[in-house]
């Protein structure tokens, strides 16, 4: 038992070392640095399109890299691929399990994936020769629900699960390449940066973790939230991460300084954040909340500069197109709205 006590002491001392090292580089704050920057003027986005067709709560949506098509998942048991310019449904894919919680569009546009309470990630080929969209692979191994999935390519996908792990899969063989273990609570969300070398995960242990994909290791852990992290995204410069939590706040963590730089909160906001996405320059952070709204934050000044009000139920998902032209919100009210 002596060894256990020794290890416990060493863990505590390492945690203190990390806290001290983070403090040692705090020669300024983000607030100081932007004291001369003017707050963004009020942002008023309008609903340009409403995508109607789902018959139950929408849990997830993801834009295609072409900034025109997007996929949404609803507990009506369907994945719908939409042409957001025309509002036409390109594909309506019936799912084996209606308890879907996430969906993803492959960067190539060739596939979509989804998963949920079935603990599996199902991959669908959109470009089959016979024109029918069907299941290409079912990635099964998680022992908990699938909360999020993101393609690295047509050959690889990363999933996050209620079993507290994230997994990198080989789609062709349907096998797990790497298991990323370390979170001590359900993994709720993940995001991949443009270089595909790392990914970040947010979990119910209140932390966000940065993982090295090839090494299979957690490189950094970010704390500070006081409740589950439901949403996570990379800041467009790839050097920072934004999170949204049940503690009603969003936070920005800088990867190179290894710490939180700012919190986006307001005493009037008391409900959880469900989804988060940065605008193209990162100056705006759009976050969906349980109170049916989406708040728009000035990321540098940490002030609320706009609201997207239009849904009749919780905003469950949000996404900004790769070209930055529009943002899409998906809601439990069964509609998706396109705003700009």
């Amino acid at each position: 038992m002596g060894e256990m006590e020794q290890l416990r002491k060493e863990a505590e001392s390492l945690k203190d070392e990390i806290t001290a090292a983070r403090k040692a580089v705090q020669d300024a704050t983000l607030q100081d640095t932007v004291s001369g920057t003017v707050v963004v003027s009020r942002v008023q986005l309008k609903t340009r399109k409403t995508l109607r067709g789902h018959l139950a709560k929408i849990y997830a949506m993801h834009w295609s890299t072409d900034s025109k098509l997007c996929v949404s998942a609803s507990q009506d048991g369907k994945l719908i691929v939409w042409d957001s310019y025309t509002t036409n449904k390109v594909n309506a894919i019936p799912l084996k399990s209606s308890w879907v919680m996430t969906c993803s569009y492959a960067p190539s546009g060739n596939m979509v994936a989804c998963g949920g309470l079935d603990n599996m990630c199902s991959i669908y080929n959109l470009k089959a020769k016979d024109g029918n969209v069907k299941v290409m692979r079912e990635l099964a191994a998680h022992t908990g629900y699938l909360s999020c999935c993101r393609f690295l390519s047509d050959a690889e996908i990363i999933t996050s699960s209620g079993d507290c792990t994230c997994v990198l899969w080989d789609i062709e063989t349907g096998t797990q390449k790497t298991v990323f273990a370390g979170h001590t609570g359900d993994c709720m969300s993940l995001a991949v940066p443009l270089d595909f070398k790392t990914f970040i995960s947010g979990a119910c242990d209140f932390t966000a973790k940065l993982w090295d994909i090839r090494e299979g290791q957690c490189r950094q852990t970010f704390s500070g939230h006081e409740s589950d992290i439901n949403a996570i995204a990379f800041f467009p410069n790839g050097n920072a991460v934004i999170t949204g939590s049940d503690d009603a706040t969003c936070k920005l963590y800088d990867l190179r300084a290894d710490q939180e730089l700012i919190t986006y909160q307001d005493s009037s906001i008391m409900c959880g954040v469900t989804s988060i996405a940065p605008s193209l320059s990162g100056r705006l952070i759009l976050a969906g909340y349980d109170d049916f709204n989406c708040n728009i934050w000035d990321s540098l000044k940490a002030e609320r500069v706009g609201v997207l009000a239009g849904h009749d139920n919780r905003v469950s998902c949000i996404g900004v197109t790769a070209d930055g032209m529009a943002c899409c919100t998906g809601s439990w009210d069964s509609f998706l709205k396109i705003w700009n």
């Binding site: 920057t37 340009r48 320059s281």
Partner: protein, 71 residues
């Protein structure tokens, strides 16, 4: 039985320490530099951020060039 529990708790504790050592060894930059880089990125890219700058209706793929009837 208790031996197995003890050795697996030890393994978990050992892994936790190993992980903390890795995270402690991360090279950190000054917050002033990180914040400045963040600010500069936002300001330099602001002009091409459609949601920030607004999209002229002619260039908006989500808005038809002619006005539609009220839906």
């Amino acid at each position: 039985m208790s031996n197995n529990n003890a050795s697996s708790s030890l393994a978990v504790a050992y892994r936790a320490v190993k992980q903390l050592r890795l995270e402690a060894s991360v090279r950190r930059i000054q917050v002033s530099q990180a914040a400045t880089d963040l600010k500069n990125f936002c300001l330099q890219n602001a002009h091409k951020d459609p949601l920030l700058m607004g999209v002229p209706s002619g260039d908006n793929p989500f808005r038809p060039p002619k006005s539609c009837g009220l839906l």
